[in-house]
């Protein structure tokens, strides 16, 4: 075996240029495939993050009737013991109450239907980093009786920090709700739609406004590992009372998941084409490698090397090329993507506008999920193993006298 390894290694470098070209083609293929997948998954992560962070959270606990009929009448009383037990589940990073409803917001001249989100400011800020999006004024604190309104709404109603907002709505079980709320801050919400009509209110203030004392429409659960969402859901289901249900972000925003899945499908077709190009490139190198050594194969077989050993020699050579190419490709891809992970490429012009309309930050993000990298390496490595079928079949059909005349 050691002799075979030594022979294979030396054979590899007998034509340095050819070997370097073959390895380079694999390196660039792995790099291209990794970057493509990393960018694709990075954009999905960004979409998911935006949707999850600024709206749904990774999981929500609701009253069983709430999702079909989203009214305050389907809110529920949160048991603090339940909340604590959920916090103790592995990978759960945060649990926060929300009370969501609608209202009519007005100043002295104009009015607009708005979405009101009653939040626990400190916890919500950990989820959304909303305080960083404040354009003017300040973000909310626990016990605040003021509101933070989105930039688009402020512009429409021509209101600023310190002005008072009039709100009229229907509260819990049809009770009329009305109030005057000073504006503490104006926020530029990353989601364009929300930026036109969202009002944040401290949850106790919202409960008082809607007469929904002690109630929440949802309990938002965040995780530090979004690949564990389904596992966390199962854990929550075990301790959840019958009146409640738990939903994941994919259940709450199925359209987002569908967009991602269909786009991912297209990406995989592109990747398949790329793999074919890689396979043919490697195949051509292996054909050259085998054809130019027919005489040598004939001689080594003549003096006593079994065809099986000869085939394993060529197999090792092909694997060497595949392995070196994949390993170098993996290292370069990782650092290449890592650079763009910390320095995402900013989008400009219409592309940036379109991205912002969909509530995403105008950057090309990349994902550093490990499997994106080693999967490319594994696929290319499997291709190289598959390609060895050719030299093995060539060796098994070897005729010594014919090979020695080559």
């Amino acid at each position: 075996m050691r002799t075979n390894l030594k022979l294979a290694w030396r054979n590899l470098w007998r034509n340095k240029r050819r070997t370097i070209i073959a390895i380079s083609s694999i390196v660039f293929s792995v790099l291209l495939a990794s970057y493509m997948r990393s960018m694709q998954e990075g954009s999905y992560d960004s979409m998911i993050n935006n949707s999850v962070k600024f709206y749904t959270g990774y999981l929500q606990i609701q009253d069983t009737a709430y999702w079909d009929e989203r009214t305050l009448d389907n809110s529920f009383e949160v048991d603090s013991e339940l909340q604590n037990r959920i916090k103790e589940i592995k990978n759960v990073s945060l649990v926060s109450n929300r009370l969501e409803s609608f209202s009519l917001a007005a100043d002295h001249m104009k009015s607009k239907p708005v979405m009101v989100m009653g939040i626990e400011p400190e916890a919500e800020d950990q989820i959304t980093n909303l305080s960083k999006k404040i354009q003017s004024g300040d973000f909310l604190k626990s016990g605040d009786k003021e509101v933070v309104i989105s930039g688009g709404l402020a512009k429409y109603l021509e209101l600023g920090v310190g002005d008072t907002l009039v709100m009229i709505s229907q509260g819990y079980h049809g009770i009329s709700a009305s109030g005057l709320f000073p504006i503490k801050g104006i926020i530029k919400h990353p989601n364009a739609e929300f930026n036109k009509r969202l009002i944040y209110m401290e949850i106790e203030t919202a409960r008082e406004f809607y007469s929904a004392y002690g109630l929440s429409t949802s309990l938002v659960v965040m995780t530090d590992d979004h690949y564990r969402v389904n596992h966390i859901k199962q854990e929550i289901e075990r301790i959840l009372p019958e009146k409640n249900t738990v939903m994941t972000w994919t259940e709450m925003t199925p359209e987002l998941l569908q967009i991602i899945q269909s786009d991912r499908g297209g990406g995989i077709i592109m990747l398949g084409i790329l793999y074919l190009v890689i396979a043919f490139g490697m195949f051509s190198v292996v054909i050259m490698m085998v054809k130019e050594r027919q005489r040598e194969f004939g001689v080594t077989h003549a003096i006593g090397m079994q065809k099986r050993k000869l085939a394993s020699l060529v197999f090792i050579e092909t694997l060497f090329i595949g392995f070196i190419g994949c390993a170098v490709g993996l290292i370069i891809s990782y650092f290449f993507c890592l650079y763009f992970f910390y320095n995402p490429i900013p989008l400009t012009g219409d592309m940036a506008k379109a991205t912002e309309i969909y509530g995403m930050e105008p950057y090309m993000f990349v994902s550093m999920k490990a499997s994106l990298f080693y999967n490319q390496m594994i696929v290319v490595f499997i291709i190289s193993i598959f390609i060895t079928i050719f030299p093995i079949s060539n060796v098994s059909r070897l005729k010594i006298t014919k090979a020695m005349r080559a």
Binding site: N11, R14, E296, G304, M305, M404
Partner: protein
């Protein structure tokens, strides 16, 4: 003692339009310790005969027995194994493995035989010294002259302690000095170590050294002379 016994050997190459009877009913035997040259014009069937004797090509008809073993009946795997243990080959174009040094080329066959390192080292050193290349063990074939490469090929052929050596036109690519040198080495090995050599050649110098000369034409033996 007969090492090689050939009975009614035929080899026919079937081309697309014509069949060539390269070996046509040859009967012969080779005794242990012989130094035999097979001569004949180009296309007379010398190389084909050697290839069939060495198990590198199949016979169309007839049989080749080596040391009592009918090699026609061996499976491909057993035949390869048999060649490794019993037959040494020297080719016209040397055919050393280019990525291995002289020492590694000689050792290669012993690796295939699974012999121990100490045994391999001793045998390699002994053989390379015998062919006058003790100082050039670590050179790759590209750093050796044609004559030196052919001497390495002779050392390689002897590494497995074969029953006999088949040498197909071993001097065809060598200058006269290298030819003389190579023939002296082979003659010495034949005399001192009783190694049987069977050559195919055009070279009169080889013929002069040989103690038996078999002449073939059109695939048939037309003369068999012992000196």
């Amino acid at each position: 003692m007969k090492i090689i016994e050939i009975k009614n050997l035929h080899k026919v190459y079937n081309g697309s339009s014509v069949s060539v009877h390269a070996v046509n009913g040859i009967n012969m035997s080779v005794e242990e310790g012989e130094f035999t040259a097979i001569v004949g014009p180009s296309g007379s069937g010398k190389t084909t005969l050697l290839n069939v004797i060495g198990g590198l090509d199949d016979a169309t008809e007839g049989s080749v027995e080596i040391d009592g073993v009918k090699i026609n009946d061996l499976s491909s795997r057993k035949l390869t194994d048999f060649r490794m243990k019993n037959i040494g080959f020297v080719f016209q174009a040397y055919n050393l493995i280019p990525v291995l040094t002289a020492k590694e080329n000689v050792e290669f066959i012993m690796h295939l035989q699974g012999r121990k390192k100490a045994d391999r080292d001793a045998r390699t050193s002994e053989l390379l010294k015998a062919v006058g290349l003790g100082e050039m063990m670590d050179r790759r074939p590209s750093k050796l002259s044609g004559g030196q490469q052919q001497r390495v090929a002779v050392a390689r052929a002897l590494a497995s302690k074969p029953k006999f050596v088949l040498a197909d036109e071993p001097t065809a690519n060598l200058d006269s000095h290298s030819t003389e040198n190579l023939l002296d080495i082979m003659e010495q090995l034949n005399k001192e170590e009783k190694i049987t050599f069977l050559f195919s050649t055009h070279d009169q110098r080889v013929v002069n050294k040989a103690r038996r000369v078999i002449t073939i034409e059109d695939g048939k033996i037309i003369s068999d002379e012992r000196k």
